[in-house]
Amino acid sequence: AQSVTQPDIHITVSEGASLELRCNYSYGATPYLFWYVQSPGQGLQLLLKYFSGDTLVQGIKGFEAEFKRSQSSFNLRKPSVHWSDAAEYFCAVDSRGKSTFGDGTTLTVKP
């Protein structure tokens, strides 16, 4: 069965600092991997996705993620965090239309 682990429940970074959110997955085949962001009271918005090919994926809002098969990881990064990035971030893996989400990481941005 597929599973997703986001080890960090809550992360606090200063505005302008770099960010890395961790995601580890368990899946038998080559996974379809996603990162979503959910702002308070909002639905989820796709940040980026990985299907195949280049293991470094660029997304919206300046985010990127790197797929590392050997580590079963798909970590999300941003070089310089903005106050508006404060939200909850979810990593997900999909198989046959069934998406499994991690428990999420809440990002707080300090001024």
């Binding site: 379809y32 009271g41 989400f101």
Partner: protein, 114 residues
């Protein structure tokens, strides 16, 4: 272009009642997905419909059911409501098979069971 819409925004029911939640996908999208986001339990996959058929189902009891209409809109029905069914229910749509096609999420329906 209109996004995924869900109704109602909020729904309050009592234990044992039935709840019906509705979702309208983005125009042109044939797949609709339902998720439950309960406090402390994260986002759990409920159901996937495509072209009017149920294609996949998460680990939920049969009292969670739904359907997809010819216009691709969808209903989620929850029978015999229990207190732990209180959650935000999110609907998403995509162009056919997810995983390959991006899912677009609606704002959700907040179900409260008293």
């Amino acid at each position: 272009e209109a996004g995924v819409t869900q109704s109602p925004t909020h729904l309050i029911k009592t234990r044992g009642q039935q709840a019906t939640l509705r979702c309208s996908p983005i125009s042109g999208h044939t797949s609709v997905y339902w998720y439950q986001q309960a406090l402390g339990l994260g986002l759990q996959f409920l159901l996937w419909y495509d072209e009017g058929e149920e294609r996949n189902r998460g680990n939920f009891p049969p009292r969670f059911s739904g359907r997809q209409f010819p216009n691709y809109s969808s209903e989620l029905n929850v029978n015999a409501l229990e207190l732990e069914d209180s959650a935000l229910y999110l609907c998403a749509s995509s162009l056919g098979l997810a995983g390959y096609n991006e899912q677009f999420f609606g704002p959700g329906t907040r179900l409260t069971v008293l």
